[in-house]
Symmetry: D2
Subunit: 344 residues, 4 copies
Amino acid sequence: MIHFNCDYVEAGHPKILEKIVESNMEQLPGYGVDHYCDSARAKIQAACKKTNADVHFMVGGTQTNLTAISAILRPYQGVLAADEGHIACHETGAIEATGHKVLPLPAVNGLITGDQVREYCHHHLADTMREHTVQPGMVYISFPTEIGTLYTKEQLIDLSNACHEYDLPLYIDGARLGYGLTSPDVDVTLEDIADLSDMFYIGGTKCGALMGEALVITNESLKKDFRYIIKEHGALLAKGRLLGIQFDVLFEDNLYFDICKKAVDYSIAIRKAFEAKGIEMWGDSSTNQQFAILTDAQMETLSKKYVYQEWEKYDDTHTIIRFCTSWGTKEENVQELLKDIAAL
Amino acid sequence: MIHFNCDYVEAGHPKILEKIVESNMEQLPGYGVDHYCDSARAKIQAACKKTNADVHFMVGGTQTNLTAISAILRPYQGVLAADEGHIACHETGAIEATGHKVLPLPAVNGLITGDQVREYCHHHLADTMREHTVQPGMVYISFPTEIGTLYTKEQLIDLSNACHEYDLPLYIDGARLGYGLTSPDVDVTLEDIADLSDMFYIGGTKCGALMGEALVITNESLKKDFRYIIKEHGALLAKGRLLGIQFDVLFEDNLYFDICKKAVDYSIAIRKAFEAKGIEMWGDSSTNQQFAILTDAQMETLSKKYVYQEWEKYDDTHTIIRFCTSWGTKEENVQELLKDIAAL
Amino acid sequence: MIHFNCDYVEAGHPKILEKIVESNMEQLPGYGVDHYCDSARAKIQAACKKTNADVHFMVGGTQTNLTAISAILRPYQGVLAADEGHIACHETGAIEATGHKVLPLPAVNGLITGDQVREYCHHHLADTMREHTVQPGMVYISFPTEIGTLYTKEQLIDLSNACHEYDLPLYIDGARLGYGLTSPDVDVTLEDIADLSDMFYIGGTKCGALMGEALVITNESLKKDFRYIIKEHGALLAKGRLLGIQFDVLFEDNLYFDICKKAVDYSIAIRKAFEAKGIEMWGDSSTNQQFAILTDAQMETLSKKYVYQEWEKYDDTHTIIRFCTSWGTKEENVQELLKDIAAL
Amino acid sequence: MIHFNCDYVEAGHPKILEKIVESNMEQLPGYGVDHYCDSARAKIQAACKKTNADVHFMVGGTQTNLTAISAILRPYQGVLAADEGHIACHETGAIEATGHKVLPLPAVNGLITGDQVREYCHHHLADTMREHTVQPGMVYISFPTEIGTLYTKEQLIDLSNACHEYDLPLYIDGARLGYGLTSPDVDVTLEDIADLSDMFYIGGTKCGALMGEALVITNESLKKDFRYIIKEHGALLAKGRLLGIQFDVLFEDNLYFDICKKAVDYSIAIRKAFEAKGIEMWGDSSTNQQFAILTDAQMETLSKKYVYQEWEKYDDTHTIIRFCTSWGTKEENVQELLKDIAAL
């Protein structure tokens, strides 16, 4: 079986493994203060053009989100997020477990807007009994979104402006950031992400690493004592070198972007194959995930050779099916899938 | 410099790396349900002689502790632990962050006793206003303890009995379990650990793995819905294979115990070297950590070649210094240290 | 100005004050174990026909809700509730502050249905990755709802059945229970409430008491150690007598129901006055709250003499206005309002 | 039986009841913004000579402590407190339930010192791995302490200085503040309390009120959004007037101090009676609690007429027994006790 069901079916990029093996017996301090972490930090700061940014490495996305969000919010504050946002749906209430409500905004094509933020805050502040409701304390977005869509630079600027008008830090979940920044449709750069947000993370787990996310804090007021809060959540990796090495390799010679670009190219090819076949796509993803609306017969045919993810029922006779590519997707498997789609 | 400061200065055992590299492009499901995890689980169940035990893999010790403890306790309950216990001292209040108080019992040589548990519970139940105090809800011990000491089988049985007399689950933090079970002084087996506790973890991070701990749940009533609580704490690794592979390798051909045994041998040799020199040792560790009481001059001499950990001031002129060995410690480095101790 | 804005503008029923004054210097034990509390408990058990029910007195509704809900749920569980439910909207995230997500169900006329619960649970259980989402752990409803509507007995039975099909305790917020049980439209009795739920509270604050709610636990498995969890949330009143006396008075000679009945009669009269005037009502409340859809001119006229609550904008030219009556509402004020409505 | 077991055996001062009855049907806004609350606030500000202080009314001590402490601390911080402090012992882990560790300092005579705070903070900051431990974030003391003792002005200044040297807010639990400020031994005034702390509460429950504590925030940076956090903890009383009226009455014509003074006089008389009899006292309380070390025979004799509290076993043949007086203690009961002590 060939897996297109998610973007973490393979382990890690060979160059990463090579470096881990090579440095294996090197004796290094724990908890993220070794020279590989330092080097990775410097490369990420350079890539973001933020030499003063703090960079912390954590193991996974939910862990990074809950640590970041609980560090930013005051106890009575909540986080505004798309109702389809990862923290709203797929983290088993990890944010609530830290005491904070996720305040859902109805997303369109996965996206929320600056005006939705403005309206929510305006309405909150206009309420004379507002202390009976959760105060919006920050905004969470995913770039790309959970369904592969992207904010334009204009949308992102507007969202960032809205946040700052109401004193809300903007946090960007970049679990698939590499696939977003290498989309043919993107007009946002890593530098823009760093400029327009207060904190964001560069996803490693889904973008070439064995595991690991690099949290970047650009807002000075959010940096203080951050290592305490990482440790408090059991998120300070003893052998921090493992995360440092991975990001050090990924941010050497543009590797992170090169491998993500290839996955996006494959994904677009798959989308085009479906469209050429007259199969309707759900959402307009131009990143590494594609959502095709398939009949039961089409699903059955493809299921003989491929593992995909059933996203949700579309109607009585159709289902939305997700196909993901990743840094690890093989050319030959894509070619096979393209052929099989054409033959549907 | 040669590092003896902690037991995670190297990365992971070469056999682990080999297997990770070898399986790298194998397409596998995420979140710990792949065949490597299944195989590792079966081996651990067999090693514990508990075919019905649930085994979950997590990344680190604090993460494992906070997940396990918050799963066991009711909201108003606390966890009894040695006042020197890892959860009481060195986890930045991770247990409190989940809403629970750590109830410290004064440890002697790192150990607590069944009678301390009995007395605490008896006193609690005898208090007519007991609902104004935290109810003891479980007991936490470390095996070996944070200072390298071991419970005898008799002590462990007594502690286990005390727990069960008061309906308290016994949880054992086995961050360094391998070094405990291979001590020359141990009379406890892995099977005993599994028999006498309700939940425990087999430490990987400090015992040969890149990272990872295997949580073993033997008490039927504590198994339900455990994966939810792992995910809720951001502790469900996407590429769970990485943990499965490591424990699968460690529990193949007795590797886990063999590599730990070697480290313990080195440690005992270091202890004997200090003792031969007339240097007093702090505590009677027979595992992989040794605590020597050194003068400033002795410290200075050793600091030229070795990285050790200053544990705490002993008196005005002496400091307690920790030397750790691990699966990764090199024979030649130990020989050198032994020579240098002899020359002090 | 005459206040119809909420149901807690006066203090407490005169008979309550009388009894508090009369017993003032009586020396009594603290924390709810005095004879007034015992007597009140017995009367409530009798009124519910549940002699084995546990009854605990707390001071306010949010306090009671957060204590009850955090006692019922496991850490990774959430509470299903109407999206307009008090816990979802107007408690500043008090439930989330205890670590639990409120899982909103779209309400119609303030009500949710058994089938909504069934569908949610079915969908959850059918999800192969359900441990990535919050597990529904209980259902919360308000009786009457926040907008004054009532579940019929049939609806309540269906909801209760749905809960028990999926092993979910049903919790009923009875902040305005007295007004619900004395509605001309009600076919549910206090006994039904006790039979069909696992835990519920009888509201005092809005129904004649100075403050106080009586939490009734009928499900045996939810009773254990409840006083600990009350104290843990700072909700164990030192002079518990104050709550005991109030419920003892309210449940003597049908007082609770008599005073609520009068308020409901006034409320219905106000509704009829609006309807007679051709003014549209929002929702079909038959309890102590009425929501009239008024023009700006009508609002302005009434605002000269009355304090009401602006609920929300209805359209560009109309606003939904809430008028509440209570046990403390005076006949003469109602007559005046009826006259003024007629004159609009 | 005559009760001396605690200081909340009677309900509330008659003048308070009078005012509650008198104002009962007055229609007032909820949640603490009525004119009685405003008046009480102004009187308290005046009494503290802090016209800019924020004053919030809550119902009980544990509630006030958990609200205040969780508002002050960052998630990874803990609160330094005497190991005998109320939050450390008798609040069922209410502070931990908000995610924070209580960091106990060994008390002498109920008191902690500025140097203990300095030493703890110094040690924390000197630790190179301090992010693995809970950061001290504030200091909690009780005035008077749980065993009736008092800080001198010099001690309080030193403690306050220590706090401010390390940027820690000082919070004072004044559950029995009235009895402390009217002790014959006190050299601290209400104004001093307000000057030397950042936040403190004036206890009502134990000092004449039916219930209620007045939290005073003098540190500007701690005032923001405080009503949200009160509501979040279910601590915003609907009929806030009840708290406002009580403090308005208590701070009229020196009533609070007059009634507490009388209780302290009685308490000192009881102490002297024991001492005259050669009975040893435990601790040197000069407030409203006295702790006598009694033989079993003495206890039995007194238990025929009096309810007292068994504090703890002193030795095999003696027990520490607490006698409390309060605003509600009757002269004749004290006389009787004095006679009976003399007759022991």
